[in-house]
Amino acid sequence: MNSLTMRQRKLVYLVGIVILLIPIIWLGRPAGGSANPGSQDALTSGGHLSQLRQQYDLDESTFGNVDPSSATMNLVLLGLRGLAVNQLWMQADEQKNTKNWAELRSTVDSIIMLQPHFLKVWRFQGWNLAYNVSASWDSLEDRYYWVKEGGKFYMEGTRRNRRYTELYWETGRILGNKIGRSDEWRYFRQYFKSDPDKEQFLNGQDPKFAWAEGREFDDNFLAAEHWFRKANEAELRRVQHIMMRMLFRFYPTHAQIEYAQGMQREGEFGERPRAAWFEAFRGLTEEFGKEEFRQLGPRVMLDATDAEVRLLATQDGVTPQQKRAEIASYQAMANYRYWRSRCGFESEGKAAEAHERLYNGRKMYREGQTNPTHVMAVGNVCDQPDDKKATPAEKTVLKLLCASKTPIERETLLQELLVTDELLESMKETRTIRFVSPAQIELEKGMALYAEMIQRFPDLDADDISIEEGMMAVLYWRRNYTLFGEEGDIPESYPLKALWVKHKARIESLEADFERELSTGG
């Protein structure tokens, strides 16, 4: 028989409860909300179980921002989350096929609520929105809207899942590849700077898409670079499963290169793109090139100095020659030498000038500035002694042309020197002078600079982009002669002739591109 009274029993129970509370609180106390997940504070705050969760990255908050609605949904479903998720996936697919965009967006949000930490969901649906759904629309503004939706989806994914390296990279890919390299790149890049939804964004950018962490990016490639850098930071904490590590870590530099190239594609030359190329060169040689990669055994550093090569060789127990060979093979994998040359080449002021002149020359051709209204001396006629058979008028003309660094307008010659058209034509026949158009003048200047740069950077001679740019300039230049039936007037020697002859197999395809450029205006 229990001799305690009712009151005494209650007291005993109360004391027992209090005593039991001590281990319960020690074990189960939640972490304080102010501590950053993964930080030292978080590791020491809260009960023992909470600290263990933080330590082994099992806590909801260590994944990323906690969404209360997601947690609620998962609880309310009472274990039927799998069923609900299956149904939602099928629904989303059906909605995409039946072009039910509003409901698709809503369904995708619901899927994320139930599967917030399932990487494949974020990767697939983000890609789905930015590529598939976007392509289903015809209007450019609508396509851009859905590309943004995909990008914002990925950004949300990075907030909810800080550990997933892939999501940062995917965000960068949308901003870089989809905005900057798709068929609609010309428009998308413009929209990135000034959103087509004027009502909502008042001719400015969409801050949720174009800005990140308080930084405003005025170019999509700069924004892409930011996200690729974040991907690289995350990659140091958790391995990514997209591609080879070395190639993965190249992306921030690649985005910088794209930034520079993007400006040139849009016809901007001068200091800004040159500075961008220089920054790309610096990133390539001082950051990416100096990273040590351990790929399937050997350590490599793509821009290693001799001392660094010897050190790496020693560490791996191989000879420096063998190490150099290993490095060379990885350089080839990343096309490192080409990019190094290219960035170096483009960082030079002359390269920018060459691009600009070639670009302007082509544009002038398309605008019709192809009449041979100027006169210039042929080749090295200025370096040769005076031709005794030349008439005084001819000598006067040649003297003037040789003294002038630029071609002279035909009308000016006719009026100032009081020479006749027949005289100029006969001098042309004797190949002492030639007639050129404003487009050709510009192209020739560019071609000369380009030839000079290619000589300084021989790697570019094997680069498709460089070859095509040079060849296309020559094609435009030669075609100008063809316009007036003067194929025979094409000089024997001209800048980039070596390139033209070497790659004449490409002429046919270039001519097709040439025709397309003429019809579309570039």
């Binding site: 967006r105 949000d109 015809d138």
Partner: protein, 655 residues
């Protein structure tokens, strides 16, 4: 959901209802007779007859006053069961709906769709468990608690109890639904951004009949498939003879006012992207009055009439008459035999086209004789063609030819084709292109006469609109609902309230089924049965429909089991054998039974009208609301009768 539902036709639906109810009643009567004989022996039939007569009496002599009393009782009990707690869930949902909805960056038109869909779906999902549990548990709980005994001991008929329950639960559900509807409507209006408020309307479309011309200008059933998985839309190629044609009826100034508003929702498909990728594809409407084409069309259905058709197109009606005489002679001498299918097609097209052409003339040219004469000759020819007798057919052809010849002058004047090309416009996908055309159309060129849309292009209320694309290598996709005449909009409340009404009709149906089930089953089982019927009627109804109407490739149940066991799929033909015959013989009644089951299980899909409202359309009466209404009514009487007999035969003492 498809906006392309067919209008509800009462008579065929009623006929089918009578058939199903008749078959089921016969089955029920047969089974009752068998059970009566088993239980009562030779007196069984008399007992069965007596019960049936008493049932009729009970229904005929029901008292509205008692039904109302039971209704009130039911309502009180429901309220006592705290049904209004459902409002708590409703309120919580709406308070935190922002968590579940998309962010405010979403385009306004997409936001509206999401908001409306959310509200209507939330209402229907909340009301469903409420009425299901109420209706299925009400009676069994009363029986268990013996409170029903206090009712049945009064002079109350079982039929009154059943109806009282149904009406009581319906009224409770109606109150809840009404409150939710009001709250939902106000919430939507408040959530929609200010700049998008103008999009909260209920558009009233007038749909037309659709046909196509292919890239060579030949009639076609549908356009091109560009590889889209969803075959809802067909495509026409731009800058070719390809057309999508809509024929609208009921077009008149009295109905539309002095203007015609066309709204389209075409889809663009580009085979190439070029410098013009920032420009939308161009579309053009062509308004056509094709009277001559219509009278020629029947004669193009058969090779024998081709010469007559070409004379008709040329307007040489005398030669038409001559040619028809020749054909009539050939038919009379049995040299020309027209196959039955061809005759049928000819008769159908002739009747349709000639009626549509000449009937309006009987009103506009009431003093002239020729419209009525052509109507009469058409009727004769159609009847003779369908009958297929040679001599009357020949006679009718000659009579029609004579009519053509004698009225050639007036036909040349009145039976003309007129077409007017309107200015092209840019397509706006998924947003709705609205084009307004004033009655007086702009002249085609300087000096050309100005045409009146209603007087010169509409004939007998019919307007033909051809759509073509203007970009080579680019395609336009369209389905029937993608072009419609937009009548003056109704307020958003109109569509929304119809959607609530559709929900109410669904609620009534579920209540009826639930109460009926509860008359012979315990609460949980009745709930499971009702829920299963809802699932089958929603998810599996389309599949059953395809099975029953032989649209699913494959065989019946027994043959399918055989094929599964022998690894023979549908493409493998079974050898003719006794086994095959036996299997098919067993499958036939099984399919018949499935047909019966298919018509017993209610179809809940028509109640899904959310799509209309979410996409800014008014819910049409003819193709949506009437279907819902009669669907519900169709189950009300049979379920009430079934519930009455079940309750009557049920032993109330056993729980």
């Amino acid at each position: 959901m498809s906006f392309d539902r067919l209008p509800f036709e009462f008579l065929p639906a009623f006929g089918q209802w009578l058939l199903v109810v008749g078959v089921l009643s016969a089955l029920a009567a047969g089974l009752s007779l068998v059970f009566a004989v088993v239980l009562h022996g030779a007196a069984g039939p008399a007992v069965a007859w007596r019960v049936a007569c008493e049932g009729v009496t009970d229904f005929v002599r029901m008292s509205p006053r008692r039904i109302w009393a039971l209704t009130v009782l039911t309502m009180k009990e429901s309220l006592r069961r705290r049904v209004l707690l459902i409002f708590i869930v409703f309120v919580v949902l709406f308070m935190f709906a922002g968590w579940f909805m998309g962010d405010s960056d979403m385009r306004p038109d997409l936001q509206i769709r999401n908001l409306v869909s959310f509200v209507l779906r939330a209402i229907s999902w909340l009301i469903l468990p409420l009425v299901l549990l109420l209706s299925c548990w009400g009676l069994p709980e009363d029986i268990r608690a013996r409170s029903l005994h206090t009712v049945v001991t009064k002079p109350v008929r079982r039929s009154e109890i059943v109806l009282g329950r149904i009406f009581g639960f319906v009224l409770v559900g109606s109150g809840v639904l009404l409150a939710m509807g009001v709250v939902g409507y106000v919430w939507i209006v408040r959530q929609v951004p200010e700049k998008a408020q103008s999009q909260l309307v209920s558009r009233v479309p007038v749909l037309g009949e659709m046909s196509f011309l292919d890239s060579n200008g030949n009639p076609s059933n549908k356009g091109i498939n560009v590889g889209d998985m969803w075959e809802y839309r067909s495509y026409i190629e731009g800058l070719t003879a390809a057309r999508a044609i809509w024929t609208f009826d009921g077009v008149d100034a009295a109905r539309l006012g002095d203007k015609l508003t066309l709204e389209s929702n075409f889809e663009a498909f580009r085979t190439h992207k070029g410098k013009d990728m920032d420009q939308s594809l161009l579309v053009q409407y062509i308004f056509v009055k094709d009277l001559k084409q219509r009278i020629v069309r029947p004669f193009k259905t058969s090779a024998d009439f081709q010469l007559a058709a070409s004379h008709m197109e040329a307007g040489d009606y005398a030669k038409v008459a001559t040619e028809l005489d020749v054909i009539a002679d050939g038919i009379g001498k049995l040299k020309v035999k027209v196959p039955k299918e061809s005759r049928q097609r000819f008769a159908d097209v002739l009747e349709r086209e000639y009626t549509s052409v000449f009937e309006p003339f009987t009103q506009t040219h009431s003093s002239a004789k020729w419209p009525a004469e052509f109507q009469a000759r058409t009727r004769e020819l159609v009847a003779a063609t369908r009958a297929g007798n040679q001599k009357p057919l020949a006679k009718a052809l000659r009579a029609l030819g004579k009519a053509f010849k004698s009225h050639a002058a007036v036909l040349k004047k009145e039976i003309v084709d007129v077409s007017v090309e309107m200015s092209p416009f840019e397509i706006a996908e998924f947003k709705g292109n609205k084009q307004v055309f004033k009655r007086k159309l702009p002249p085609a060129s300087i000096g050309a006469p100005q045409l009146d849309l209603f007087d010169d292009l509409v004939h007998g209320g019919r307007l033909r609109v051809e759509v073509r694309g203007l970009e080579r290598g680019q395609y336009l996709g369209m389905a029937r609902p993608d072009l419609f005449i937009r009548l003056p909009d109704r307020p958003f409340l109109s569509g929304f309230s119809k959607a609530i009404l559709a929900n109410w009709l669904m609620m009534v149906l579920i209540t009826v089924i639930g109460v009926t089930a509860s008359c012979f089953l315990k609460g949980p089982i009745a709930a499971v049965l009702t829920f299963s019927l809802i699932i089958m009627g929603t998810v599996f109804h389309d599949f059953m429909d395809r099975l029953v109407h032989d649209k699913v490739p494959g065989a019946g149940a027994v043959e399918s089991v055989f094929r599964i066991g022998t690894h023979k799929n549908q493409s493998v033909k079974l050898d003719d054998s006794i086994g095959k015959s036996i299997m098919q013989a067993i499958d036939k009644p099984l399919l018949a039974a499935l047909w019966l089951v298919f018509h017993v299980i209610p179809n809940f899909n028509p109640y899904e009208v959310t799509g209309w409202v979410a996409n800014g359309f008014d819910v049409p009466w003819s193709s949506a609301m009437m279907t819902c209404l009669f669907n519900t009514l169709a189950y009300f009487l049979p379920c009430s009768v079934l519930g009455y007999f079940m309750l009557r035969l049920r032993e109330l003492e056993s729980k």
